[in-house]
């Protein structure tokens, strides 16, 4: 399958000598939701900005929808919608005019029906005649998404789309992104909320200091790098971990009432059965137990601090 986004040996060095991207190679396929994660200053926005034509690349090849972003820039850009990180809007314009402007700018004839659908999908229809300056931050964010969708792009970049928005709007956006995917739109999102990537992404890319350090299917990533934790709430306090359990990675909580067993999530759960058998043999009773899988956030933190 031909990728919607293809980046090969991409480098970017700014005039002051700062190398923002180092030999980036990345392919993103039609219809997938790809989350690009990385700490501040890792190069996420630079990468997106180069693909969208806002920042010049130093060298390397970039294609969008199969078109080179320099040689066939019109075709490449027509296929892309971008929601940037900052709330950059034309304050004095009405919502309707701002969204219609974007559609025209991207070379599409006026289509009031489509604009109406987009505004209704984003709960902006009632505000269509309002000036953007009169809208709340969350509403302005919706306007930016509406502008990006106005020309029916097949690839949508969402750069920190839910930064500073409330929980309800975040959920709405997740719903909208899923809907877009259902319609075949490829979505690339950067986010600080790892929960967001965990909730939505099909694949995860992690960028650190301008280098892609990992691209992996989300489910595989979580099972490969994730940890599981079993917590046993004891009936009676223990002073130390019994010697019979020292073969297993077991810790005792400070209050002595919890045994914590951490194990690789890929591992078969033989260790859990062995642990429970040993506890039974030792006559150590527990009143409750719970297991927890490590979140993408914990995996991410582990990766970027390696």
């Amino acid at each position: 399958m031909q990728p919607d986004i293809s980046v090969k040996h991409l480098n970017k060095t700014y005039e002051d000598g700062f190398q923002a991207l180092k030999d980036i190679n990345l392919e993103i396929y039609p219809g997938e939701i790809f989350a690009l994660l990385g700490p501040n200053g890792a190069g996420k926005t630079t990468l997106i900005s180069i693909i969208c034509g806002i920042v010049n690349k130093s060298n390397g090849d970039v294609k969008a929808a199969g078109y080179d972003i320099i040689k066939d820039y019109r075709k490449a850009r027509e296929s892309i919608g971008l929601v940037p990180q900052e709330l950059n809007t034309d304050s004095f314009e009405t919502v309707w005019n701002a969204v219609s402007f974007s559609r025209g700018l991207f070379g599409k004839p006026a289509n009031p029906d489509h604009i109406e659908t987009v505004l209704k999908d984003l709960s902006l229809w009632d505000k269509r005649n309002n000036r953007i300056m009169s809208l709340s931050g969350g509403m302005k964010r919706r306007v930016m998404i509406a502008k990006a969708l106005s020309h029916e792009p097949r690839i949508l970049f969402l750069d920190e789309p839910t930064a500073g928005v409330d929980v309800e709007l975040r959920r709405d956006m997740w719903e909208m992104v899923r809907k877009l995917r259902k319609n075949g739109t490829t979505v690339i999102l950067t986010t600080h909320y790892i929960e967001e990537a965990e909730e939505m992404a099909d694949r995860i890319g992690v960028i650190r200091n301008g280098e892609i350090i990992l691209v992996e299917d989300k489910a595989r990533l979580m099972s490969k790098l994730g940890k599981k934790e079993l917590r046993l709430h004891l009936q009676h306090k223990l002073d130390k971990v019994p010697g019979e359990l020292t073969l297993e990675p077991v810790e005792l909580s400070d209050d002595g009432y919890e045994l914590i067993y951490t194990f690789d999530s890929q591992q078969q759960q033989a260790g859990v059965a062995r642990l429970l058998r040993t506890l039974s043999d030792l006559g150590i009773d527990y009143r409750d137990l719970q297991t927890r899988e490590s979140s993408l956030e914990e995996i991410f933190v582990g990766l970027v601090h390696e």
Binding site: Y14, L105, G107
Partner: protein, 253 residues
């Protein structure tokens, strides 16, 4: 060619004019009318003719040119500076529009606004001063060519400026003095010889002279030289704009 894109930018800019009629139209018309009243009717009545033309009528082309230059520069510079300032420039840079189309949209709108304003001022001047236009085609040609040239110049200023102060410096500190010293209120023949020579280095002399010729058939320099100098300045501005987009100067890092 992305005509929808050009149209979107053009209409967006023209809509800004409609939103700000007081600032964009009324204010320059009133301030130019004050010149007509003060220098034309009040002081002008005590001045003699210049080259056989009544003084009040003589200054009209120069005053129209003053407004035309200021408005062309301010419309175009503000038009491109505001998206840079507000951050909305990302949309234009990421859109499938060529450099030429971007310039066509912004500069086209700024030129249209300046020409409309120039014509309104000319019509308003008729209320105060009796004047005639000997060569209407050339009058309109000079009007459009000058508005286009200085809109391009304003576009360059808007890209160069990184603050509102810089946006004002060139029109106020350079263009206004050049217009006042470029023969708006006098013929450069009236100056001592050395100042006549110095004046020939002022590009605005050629614009006003050519424009005045279109009205009354008299000029400080030959009309052919006026047209030539305007085209030279237009070419310089086009070269600068081409370089800006080629290098991404202050637009793309």
């Amino acid at each position: 060619m992305n005509l929808y894109g050009v149209k979107a930018i053009y209409n967006f800019e023209m809509a800004r004019m409609k939103r700000t009629l007081m600032q964009s139209v009324l204010s320059p018309v009133i301030s130019t009318c004050l010149y007509f009243v003060v220098f034309g009717s009040a002081i002008g009545s005590r001045m003699g003719d210049i080259g056989g033309i009544d003084y009040a009528a003589y200054i009209i082309p120069g005053l129209v040119m003053l407004s035309l230059l200021m408005q062309s520069i301010s419309n175009a510079s503000f038009g491109i500076y505001m998206p840079k300032f507000s951050g909305t420039i990302y949309e234009v840079l990421s859109a499938p529009v060529s450099y030429f189309e971007i310039v066509l949209g912004y500069v086209g709108a700024a030129t249209t606004k300046a020409v409309i304003l120039g014509l309104i001022i000319l019509l308003t001047a008729r209320l105060f001063v009796d004047y005639s236009v000997m060569h209407p085609f050339w009058m309109l040609s000079f009007l459009i060519l000058t508005a286009l040239t200085f809109s391009l110049f304003g576009f360059i200023i808007g890209i160069w400026a990184d603050g509102f102060e810089k946006l004002q410096i060139v029109p106020m500190m350079i263009v206004t003095p050049l217009v006042f010293l470029g023969g708006t209120f006098y013929s450069i023949d009236m100056l001592p010889e050395v100042w006549q020579t110095i004046s020939l280095f002022n590009p605005v002399v050629y614009l006003i002279s050519g424009f005045r010729w279109a009205f009354y058939g008299v000029s400080d320099v030959h009309v052919g030289i006026s047209v030539g100098m305007t085209l030279v300045f237009l070419s310089l501005c086009m070269t600068a704009v081409w370089w800006i987009f080629k290098t991404g100067y202050r637009l793309r890092s």
